[in-house]
């Protein structure tokens, strides 16, 4: 290869890496900034002095948040909703998808069509709301976990996985040994499906952790609000407080500063569990996207 070409390639690779670094910084810096701003003196943040390192360390904003009952309640509720919701998702999803993956199942196509219709067509927001209400689920956890308990899209992903990973004669030989579908499912299929189970647990758990819309529709009792809804409402309160605070400066300055700090700290507080899990779960998240081939 000519020297000129090697040189031009080297420059090219430098440019590639520079752009990658840019992507990295654009994604990471806002998050980093929020973290350092949350542990700095709000006054310094407002003056733009906190850009690379925290200034005048203070944990006031975090103390204030931990004193806030509604956040703690929201946290507790979200943990319960996420655990119960994901458990139900998985218990409904895996057996259902397994059944759909058995080609000898009579009326298999009819079942698939029955499920798939609801992927594209539904009653819409209000009829669904009225149905949840008439089932008496308003203001209960079940309104959050039952309507989406069976994910049709994910069941098709799992079905394809089972089809690809359980050879056709595997069940026949199991049947010779006297095993029925239930035994086969638990002792053969599940053990070889750990990867997809992990993916499904993560996606569903994340979905429950991050959702706020269904709680907004179905939950009216603040004691039952999930974390995300608490945060959303708090954001609104902070906005109004900050607006009034800036008008009457002076005595309210302290309060305003605190509000500014809390604004930053609620972001790490609500994202920490996801961030802690991420390094361990990352490969499954990536796998999940390619498993579903297009939509995740």
């Amino acid at each position: 290869m000519s020297k000129a070409k090697i040189n031009s390639d080297r420059i090219y690779l430098w440019i590639v890496n520079a752009f990658l670094l840019l992507f990295l910084l654009i994604c990471a810096y806002p998050l980093y900034f929020v973290v350092i701003a949350s542990i700095s003196d709000p006054a310094a943040v407002n003056l733009g002095r906190v850009l690379l390192l925290p200034k005048k360390l203070t944990l006031d904003a975090y103390r204030h948040i931990l004193e806030n009952k509604s956040i703690l309640i929201g946290y507790k509720n979200t943990i319960i909703y996420t655990t119960v919701g994901t458990l139900i998702n998985i218990c409904v999803l895996l057996p259902g998808a397994f059944a759909l993956s058995r080609k000898e199942l009579p009326f298999r196509k009819a079942f698939i069509v029955y499920f798939m219709i609801t992927m594209y067509f539904g009653g819409g927001l209000i009829p669904t709301y009225l149905q949840v209400r008439s089932l008496g689920l308003m203001d209960t956890m079940w309104a959050l976990v039952l309507p989406g308990a069976f994910s049709v899209y994910n069941s098709l992903v799992c079905k394809n996985f089972f089809e690809a990973n359980t050879p056709a004669d595997l069940f026949d030989s199991a049947r010779m040994d006297g095993a029925g579908y239930t035994t086969f499912f638990f002792s053969v299929v599940l053990p070889i499906s750990k990867a997809i189970i992990a993916v499904m647990v993560l996606f569903h758990a994340l979905g429950h952790w991050n959702s706020y819309m269904s709680a907004m529709y179905y939950i009216t009792n603040p004691q039952k609000y999930p974390l995300q809804l608490v945060l959303k409402n708090m954001q609104g309160e902070l906005d109004t407080l900050a607006a009034s605070g800036s008008v009457s400066a002076g005595s309210l300055k302290e309060l305003t500063n605190l509000i500014e700090g809390v604004k930053y700290s609620i972001i790490p507080v609500s994202t920490i569990p996801v961030a802690l899990l991420y390094p361990f779960a990352q490969k499954y998240f990536v796998k999940g996207v390619t498993m579903g081939s297009i939509k995740g």
């Binding site: 390639d9 090219y12 798939m116 899209y153 579908y181 959702s211 959303k232 961030a275 297009i294």
Partner: protein, 316 residues
């Protein structure tokens, strides 16, 4: 959305109804399907029955079937709605602009990730850029609010440092679409890149080596081999976007909209929520939702037709 049919084609054509014995042999599988069938019936099909409310006036205390019919009253009201044009224009503006402006970023990132010779650095970039996708919309929009705050926000601090005047981004109607698009790019670029990274991994290495021996620079390989190789994926993804032209999510917009920027943040899905659940006009809300869904399905069918014609994948 994958090729659902390929799995079914392998099935032997059954010309007669399955025998009772065949059904009985699979009884355990029917037990497995019981919960999904019931759940989908309760929360998928029963609400479909409730669509008739679009043609009825809702009165508390009566069952859905007992509500009095009012014909097309709600649809006429929708057609004469002074805000209708604004709702449609805002919805289309957001989905169209966000499709146009967000799509190049994942492709660009994936190509960069495929090009870098430093594996570790590439892995790091991929991990970090994927992470925002896992953060909830509430938190992402909180982050943007904090950064855009006219007094204390980082963006306005920088603008002031450069000598400009502070902008209250969330109070300006003209900033609604940019906020939507920029936050989407920030949140979804790393996630969107995964599909293209996988597609790039399938590019024929021998072809690349041959081109290199023939004197192609790395850039030329990218431009003339890699990019064409992932073109089918790009086209498929774009066509799928088209299917969602009118389904702009209320979940994100509810976090952006306020009284000051309502002129451009008023969209169909938020309107259904406001008028239906907040104001309790169930009949009219159902009608608006029904129209929105009909348009969505139309878009989906068009997109699917295009996908069948121009790419190898289709939705159904």
């Amino acid at each position: 959305m994958k090729k659902q049919t390929s799995a079914q084609q392998g099935q032997v054509k059954v010309s007669r109804l399955p025998s009772r014995r065949q059904i009985f042999r699979c009884w355990e599988l029917y037990v497995f399907l019981l919960a999904p069938v019931v759940l989908i019936f309760l929360f998928g099909y029963v609400p479909m029955y409730g669509i008739q409310l679009a043609f009825k006036d809702f009165k508390a205390g009566l069952s859905i079937a007992e509500q009095p019919w009012v014909g097309l009253k709600h649809f006429k009201r929708l057609a004469n709605l002074p805000n209708l044009k604004r709702l449609v224009v805002n919805t289309v503006r957001i989905s169209l602009f966000s499709a146009i402006f967000t799509f190049p970023f994942p492709i660009f990132l994936a190509l960069l990730l495929d090009e870098t010779r430093s594996r570790k650095f590439g892995k790091l970039v991929q991990s970090v850029t994927y992470f925002p996708h896992l953060i909830s919309l509430v938190v992402v929009m909180s982050l943007f609010r904090v950064l855009c705050n006219p007094r204390s926000g980082l963006i306005n601090i920088i603008i002031r440092m450069l000598g400009g005047g502070a902008i209250d981004f969330f109070a300006e109607p003209d900033w609604v679409t940019p906020i939507w698009i920029i936050s989407s790019i920030w949140q979804n670029t790393g996630y969107g890149a995964i599909v293209y990274v996988a597609a790039l991994a399938g590019v024929d290495q021998e072809q690349i080596d041959a081109a290199r021996v023939d004197g192609c620079s790395r850039f030329m390989v990218t431009r003339y081999i890699k990019l064409p190789a992932i073109m089918p994926t790009i086209i498929t993804m774009e066509i799928l976007h088209l299917g969602q032209l009118f389904s702009v999510g209320a979940d994100k917009m509810l976090l952006i909209t306020n009284n000051m920027n309502i002129a451009k943040s008023d969209i169909l899905s938020v309107y259904v929520y406001q008028v239906g659940l907040v104001q309790g006009q169930f009949g009219f809300g159902t009608a608006v939702g029904l129209v929105n869904m009909a348009v969505n399905i139309l878009c989906l069918l068009v997109a699917n037709g295009l996908a069948r014609k121009y790419s190898e994948t289709s939705l159904f």
